[in-house]
Amino acid sequence: MLGDIVSPDLFAAALRMATPLALAAIGGTICERSGVVNIALEGMMLTGAFFGTAVVLATGSPWLGVAGAVVAGVAMASVHAFASINLRADQTVSGTAINLLALGVTGFLMELWYGHPGTTDQIAVLRPIFSFDAPGGGVLPEIWRWLNGIFLSHTPIVYITMAIAVAAQWAVYHTRWGLRLRALGEHPRAADTVGVNVLRGRWVAVLISGGLAGLAGANLTIEQVGSFTENMTNGRGFIALAANIFGRWTPVGSYLASLLFGFADALQIRLQVLRGIVSVPPQFFLMLPYVLTVVVLAGVIGRAVAPAASGVPYRKG
């Protein structure tokens, strides 16, 4: 029974489930580091998921779909950027508007283009990059089976996400751009005084977060599910925000925190095989990631400090 649950597949699924969360969480990190709160990750992810699917349905090319998802995420993000940076709207409220807008636009276009609500047709998906043969018995082959199963069984965006986490960490902490980004979120007035363009810097950060959230949506539809369903993001954008906080506003931290949430998700799916043996209703497993998010926030947040100027619109002059 334990063998049914603890297997290479469980950990591979954790990596897979963590990917959209991590992409959105890293986007949230970069956005908040620049001083803009991004509640709209959920909506940007959903928009990316839909337009990614739509492009694949139109062209048949998964990679074009990925590009479409990123562009759609960036487009949604530009709305958030314009509202919260130029118009100095309340960032949380603007984000809520975008989440609702994403729900409405994707649902509306779904009926307009495909003639029905619900779920789209199946699309061409991105396949795992590697496929190695599983060797026979013995200790070494067993280790190989685990490593192969956990790390080498994935689709491209899973690996791209790992690369993005490392690259973003380096960019935020070891480049001039990163130094300026952090300055924008801690003390925009000081950054402005030394000649950093606050509005432009924040725009770039918000657009990057939109692109990453869009990519997260592409991962959901073009790699994991193979079709789009209305509201399929199901709160992942909010869990990603929690992962960003748990990861203390660092890209690699966000990735690792997302792994925890991804593991919870993978575990709840795996645990459902227990249903025949122990009669636990599936709803309790489905609750698990959301409960974990609250527990994690409750446990960690006191010691984590948000960027000082996060959520505060900047008025020049």
Partner: protein
Amino acid sequence: MSEPRSAVPVQRRWMAVLQKVGTPIISAALAIVAGSLIMWASGYDPALAFASLFQGSLGSPKAIGDTVLKSVPLILTGLAVAYGFRAGLFNIGAEGQLFMGALAATALGLTLTGVPWIVTVPLMLVAAMAAGASWAFVPAVLKARIGAHEVITTMMFTYIGRYLVSWLVNGPMKAPGGIPQTHELAINAQLPKIAALFPDSMKQALPILNLGRAHVGIVVALTAAVVIWLILKYTTLGYENRAVGYNRWASETAGISVQWTTVKALCISGSLAGLAGATEVMGVHYRLFDQFSSGFGFTGIAVALLAKNHPLGVIPAAFLFGALAAGAGTMQFQADVPQKIISIIQALVIFFVAAEEIVLWFVRRRQKEAMSHAG
């Protein structure tokens, strides 16, 4: 908050009122214009769409009844979100508290059989408020004690609550039969329809009383709006709520417990959302099932923002969104426009209210024009 009246010239008071009411009205108008453009660009006929929308929401007593029906939960969730906002808290999870309120009301209503309605109905409403408040309590404490963002926690509690209800209506509370739903509430646990309160002779004389499905929950909702307005305006509780919303540090210095005020604010907010769940179950569906709420908790955010968080402003704002929701079906049927356009219009309303600068730009230009005409 309220300035001494005599000190402010009448004209300036009117200008202030106009500015308060003007932005929401212009925002709503802009959103509807933008919605029309989207319909037009998508190949639909906006004129036909709005005509059928009007017909389905205000075109007949029955349609008006539908608008009232949809407005009831929206007034309550709008109040919930607005009350939180007035303390600087964003209760994005009103939907979850609404589910818990509906659950408590249903559970109690199914238990209290054979008890007169004068006892059951108030008890169910109170139970729903308690359940809604309890669902907001943990996020409230987490916010007050360690600053965990209420947007994330109340959202997570919404998912947890929905799965909890889903389990109950699929399992322990499921009525026999293929559909996952509870037993029907007995008549003593229902909110009666408004039309049923009047004798037929009166309805014949006054056809406007044939309000279709509208139920007396509207009285509950309107009462709640007035009570919240009174609380905010005249009580210490409301004063502290507003003070913390304006400036938590100044409030702390003035001796107000910000933590305790935060907890109270979110719990009161949750209780209002819970009440919305109760009126839906007791007045509309008479039973609980998975999909009984069409996102009233989330639309409540739009209602609160459009009302600029004023408890009485929530009423017209809720009627606007109630009318949109009530007419959406007719619109889809007659003009073929997907109902989702309503979500888009809602989102645009929030957007325009939030990005007030766009709207203020219009207002200022009008003022400038008026001034140049006058001078």
